[in-house]
């Protein structure tokens, strides 16, 4: 029983992987996916305040400068709150921009960004495929909708933290909700990706059925 489920899951994942490979083989969708992922990573790092815009950084740091903590090995996996880890270094770009370097935070942001990028690439592919093949033009894009919601769900609390600034209680309340959103968003985006690639497969087979021979 367990073995048969494992086989089916492996088959589903393999099918998703094949569909994603099909999408990413086309340069246009690959670019869309990568750009979305990078944009999301940057927004994520801003909202968790690992990229900070401040005044008069020059008073405290040489500009430009890069610094790595002497005890970075002690800090690298040390959490500050759930899903937020210590920085081990910093890059001061200008008098107003500083980037904190935290390996786990960058990994989390990259995973979220990659999932959103893949979902968006699949959605763009499905939309184009449906239009070209004259199959319900918006049918294919439905598959990507959950990814937008989950992406937003993950981003919204961090945005709210940045916007609320001084209100510590509200910020902390949102932080605790955010702890839930990150694993929920990752799980939901994986499911959405599987679902949307399946829809894409259906769309392609229907398009193949309707296409003139």
């Amino acid at each position: 029983m367990v073995q048969s489920y494992a086989i089916r899951i492996a088959e589903t994942l393999a099918s998703t992987r094949r569909s994603l490979a099909d999408v990413l083989r086309t340069g246009r969708y690959r670019k869309i996916g990568i750009l979305t992922a990078v944009a999301y990573l940057v927004v994520y790092l801003i909202t968790i305040q690992d990229i900070v815009f401040a005044n008069n950084l020059g008073r405290f740091y040489p500009i430009p400068s890069v610094a790595i903590s002497e005890n970075w090995t002690e800090l690298i996996w040390r959490p500050r709150v759930t899903f937020y880890w210590e920085a081990i270094g910093q890059i001061v770009l200008t008098n107003n921009v500083i980037i904190l370097l935290s390996v786990p935070n960058i990994i989390v942001g990259s995973v979220l960004g990659a999932l959103i990028g893949l979902n968006v690439a699949v959605a763009a592919y499905s939309y184009t495929c449906a239009r070209v093949c004259r199959v319900r033009p918006y049918g294919g894009i439905l598959g990507a909708i959950p990814s937008f919601f989950t992406g937003f769900a993950c981003c919204a609390p961090t945005f709210a933290i940045a916007l609320l600034g001084g209100n510590v209680a509200l910020t902390l309340g949102i932080l605790s909700v955010r702890n839930l959103f990150i694993p929920v968003a990752i799980s939901a985006m994986v499911l959405a990706l599987i679902w949307s690639t399946r829809k894409m497969g259906h769309l392609a087979s229907r398009a193949a059925g309707q296409s003139p021979t």
Partner: protein
């Protein structure tokens, strides 16, 4: 014909797969949350409970020469513990502080920057607020003595402590528990994991419950004034071993008078009182189980006040040089003195001796004597009242 059963089979297969994947996802979420919380190092005591094996005493009370904190008060306070957001040590204490000269500190500190000044055993040190706001605790070693300098940004209180574990007598060092009571930092000691609210300076949970720390006065002043009065000062370096954006304040405009999000403070407090603005800075004095709040700004024009606290005569003197209120016993030997302003210092009416604002006898028959300082700290009114509702208010 051949495609129909295939499609049906595919649907069935897909639904099951999704259930399994969903289950795995849920398991992933649960384990991720567990991992996250485990790494935060949650405190070993939950709200209002005692560590296993310890029974609450009904007669024990905390007593020193200066104060008495009944057992019930400690238990009552322990019921108001709240999570502050970051987990245990999520706000990291500085355990290996480095110090720099005033000239070096001048490169990043402005005249108006707030510093917490400490004078202890001949050592003069300043702790910039912009560094301490990210760490809250500095564990120090001064001439072989372990002392801890603390700052709570939510209540604006800075205090230094020295204490020993009642379990084995070892000197205590502290970390940030991530918990709050009356919006105030709860420290935990690294030796027994007991909880100590900073304003109380006493353990209210854990093996050290009932112990009181020795308080060492900290001067909350500006860098300009501290540097002027203590040019030899050492300054806590921003090389703390942690990466933080010093020069920015994670609490934003919290310390200003105006309400934030419709409230003056961010976490609920046990008791409130509207005699003063919640964020007004008062110098809180503790003596023999009695409490007095002196509004700092208003006292600038008063400068000297002779009064009584806990049945003892005391005097509050405003120190213009550092913009702080100093509080002393008015008793010297068997004499009870009354003070009045005289130039930049004060004079006692009884002997006509001249005194500095630091309580040093400068001239007259009491020259060379030192007034005995009382326990005091600068703190926001709402927090002072929440801990000491029986407090008197000067003025």
């Amino acid at each position: 014909m051949s495609e129909e059963p295939k499609r049906g089979k595919f649907r069935k297969f897909s639904r099951r797969s999704f259930i399994v994947i969903g289950g795995l996802g849920t398991a992933g979420i649960v384990s991720a949350l567990y991992y996250g919380s485990a790494n935060q190092g949650q405190p070993i005591y939950s709200q209002g409970t005692l560590p296993s094996g310890e029974q609450p005493s009904v007669t024990q009370s905390v007593q020193t020469e200066a104060e008495v904190i009944p057992e019930q008060t400690l238990d009552e306070l322990a019921r108001y513990i709240l999570p502050g957001g970051p987990g245990k040590d999520g706000i990291p204490a500085i355990d290996r502080p480095k110090f720099i000269s005033a000239d070096e500190a001048n490169k990043f500190l402005s005249n108006e920057d707030v510093v917490f000044g400490l004078q202890y055993q001949g050592v003069v040190r300043a702790y910039p607020q912009t560094v301490l706001v990210w760490h809250e605790i500095v564990n120090e070693n001064i001439n072989g003595e372990k002392i801890t300098v603390t700052y709570c940004p939510l209540t604006g209180s800075a205090v230094a402590f020295k204490g020993f574990s009642k379990v084995d007598g070892s000197p205590l060092t502290f970390g940030v528990s991530g918990k709050l009571v009356n919006s105030n930092l709860i420290m935990y000691d690294r030796q027994t994991d007991s909880y100590w609210p900073q304003i109380l300076g006493a353990a209210f949970m854990g093996p050290n419950k009932g112990s009181i720390l020795d308080q060492i006065p900290v001067t909350l002043t500006s860098w300009e004034l501290w540097r002027k009065t203590h040019p030899e000062t050492q300054v806590l370096s921003k090389d703390t071993g942690f990466i933080r954006i010093y020069g920015t304040d994670p609490y934003g405009k919290y310390t200003k008078d105006g309400p934030v999000g419709g409230r003056y403070y961010s976490f609920p407090v046990r008791l409130t009182d509207d005699r003063l603005h919640p964020k007004k800075v008062v110098t809180g004095v503790i003596h023999r189980g009695s409490y007095l709040a002196i509004p700092k700004e208003e006292f600038k024009s008063v400068r000297v006040a002779n009064t009584e606290l806990g049945g003892d005569p005391m005097v509050a003197i405003y120190d213009d040089a550092e913009e702080i209120i100093r509080v002393f016993s008015r008793r010297v030997g068997n004499k009870e003195l009354t003070f009045r302003i005289s130039g930049s210092g004060v004079v006692d009416t009884e002997t006509g001796s001249e005194w500095s604002v630091k309580g040093e006898g400068l001239a007259g028959s009491l020259s060379g004597k030192q007034l005995r300082p009382l326990k005091f700290l600068d703190v926001m009114w709402f927090a002072w009242y929440a801990f000491y509702p029986q407090t008197l208010v000067y003025g």
